[in-house]
Amino acid sequence: MEYEPIFPLRAIAFQVLFLMVAISIEAGIFRQRLRLGFKTSVQYTTVINLAAVVAGWIAFLVIEPLASPEIKVQIISYLLFDRLLITSWTAEIGGAILGIGLVVFFATYFIKLKGLEWILRLADAWKIPKKMEKLNREQRYMQAREGRTESQQALAEFTDSVIQANAASFTAILLLLLLRQAARSWA
């Protein structure tokens, strides 16, 4: 079998770059908000980002052969020629792209949330119990005052920081992509 000398080197370069950007941003946020150490926060962020990226690749490799010829043409056109094969922009196409972006964002968020929880449990660093069996006096007071328990608050803080980290890294990568586009049209 003959193979063409065409390698996905640019994909690999961009992937490594974006992973590094995402890991540095998210690790900073986790270090601040979840009080993880410097090294541990980088390690955990690397693991969850790798998991998200691998899930994305698996999704692509599974969906691409199943897609209809119209979608497949768009995928090939985008990956090989960096453009979509559409004659005009309509609200439907814009909506579809926006929808895909949202699905990707929330899927990534979910993977990172569950992944981080899982790693923390593995490392015995998961401090949030499922249910408070017995509330002491102070906690009951807090619940009465704030309307939620300490564990609920800790969980909210945890999910908050994950979604903040995810949003920050997505924004940074999106800015880099826009920058690339601008540089390309400028050149």
Partner: protein, 362 residues
């Protein structure tokens, strides 16, 4: 000189010959031994093929284990990370997948990272008493990290093969410049791919020539009138003859408007590429065929049945094109006129069609 040679042989012996029998060199010797026996057996006339197969498999297994053991003893480290399992994994994949056989290479390469991770992680899951247990707590997270990195490597390899599949199924894509892509890099940008529209159009033209050549002229004109359906039939037939038939979804054969050319017609066939392209340009392939009438003396002897058919076939055409030549009530002359029939001649030229571009390259 002799001393140096002796020294060298001594060193080789101490490297390859085990000091004690419980060593990786023993496995290497076993591998060599079973390999030699397998070769001997296969050279014997009535050698048992199963025995040869078993022995060569054993030889591979001994070799893989010997390499694993050797690399466990003398670790090769890159930035403090032992890459021994990946070498063992490569040898194992060579043995298990036989990548030199057709179509196996991609499986060997795709599985290599995962098999290597399995080889690396195995000692953490199974101890020397063959008891299965989960790895120690402090080893779990590095293991997950290595597994994820190798899954990513596998994804990249699979993506490489996916792109190769696209290029094999749709080879005309390669006429485009891949320079704009954010995903792939082309190491051979100036290749001359086979644009399949050319064979598609050539075979369509020759199919039309086959259908029309020697046919009575009025039938050729009828064919031109109903050309849409006829061309669709031909295009459908031709698509199956393409080297990469999947590509047919990207080709559209335009239905041409025949132009008058003297007493005949000029039919310009055109195949448009409607698949992905780089930039705002696209390409098509064009080929012209001249379809002209020619008066030809009939060589077929006149049997009654075919004579009748021919008479009905040629008469309307003659009456329409040469109305003045027929004189009434002269059966003799009409018979003589019927000896010459008007047939279509198709000439599509000798030159092969070439790719034409439309639009501006960016």
């Amino acid at each position: 000189m002799q001393d140096a040679f002796k020294d060298f042989t001594n060193q080789m012996r101490s490297l390859l010959w085990p000091e004690k029998y419980f060593a990786w060199q023993t496995l290497l010797m076993l591998s060599l031994f079973s390999w030699l026996v397998a070769i001997l057996l296969s050279n014997i006339e009535d050698g048992n093929p199963i025995a040869v197969e078993v022995l060569s498999t054993l030889s591979w297994m001994f070799l893989t284990s010997a390499i694993w053991w050797a690399l466990e003893k003398n670790k090769i480290k890159v930035y403090g990370f032992s890459i021994g399992p990946w070498i063992t994994g490569a040898v194992f994949c060579l043995f298990a997948f036989r990548p030199w056989e057709d179509g196996r290479f991609r499986w060997a390469l795709s599985c290599w990272p995962l098999i290597s991770v399995a080889i690396m992680a195995l000692p953490d899951f199974v101890n020397w008493e063959l008891k299965v247990s989960l790895p120690a707590k402090d080893k779990r997270q590095p293991l997950i990290m290595v597994l994820l990195v190798n899954l990513l490597l596998t994804s990249w390899i699979l993506f490489y093969f996916r792109v190769q599949d696209w290029l094999r199924n749709y080879p005309s894509l390669l006429i485009n410049d891949l320079n704009r892509s954010a995903f792939v890099y082309d190491f051979e940008p100036n290749r001359q791919p086979i644009v399949q529209g050319i064979p598609l159009l050539e075979s369509t033209a020759s199919a039309i020539a086959d259908e029309l050549s020697g046919q009575p002229w009025y039938q050729a004109e009828r064919w031109l009138y109903t050309r849409k359906n006829r061309l669709e039939d031909i295009a459908l037939r031709m698509n199956n003859n393409l080297a990469a038939p999947d590509e047919q979804i990207f080709w559209q054969i335009a239905v041409p408007e025949p132009q008058r050319l003297g007493s005949g017609y000029l039919l310009t066939l055109r195949a448009d590429w409607i698949g992905p392209v780089a930039g705002n340009q696209s390409f098509y392939i064009e080929k012209s065929c001249k379809i002209t009438p020619e008066d030809r003396a009939r060589t077929v002897p006149n049997t009654p049945a075919s004579g009748e058919a021919n008479a009905t076939a040629t008469n309307p055409a003659q009456s329409s094109t040469t109305p003045s030549s027929t004189t009434p009530s002269s059966t003799n002359r009409q018979n003589a006129a019927a000896q010459v029939s008007r047939v279509a001649v198709v000439d599509c030229g000798e030159d092969e069609a070439t790719v034409q571009w439309t639009g501006e390259p960016e």
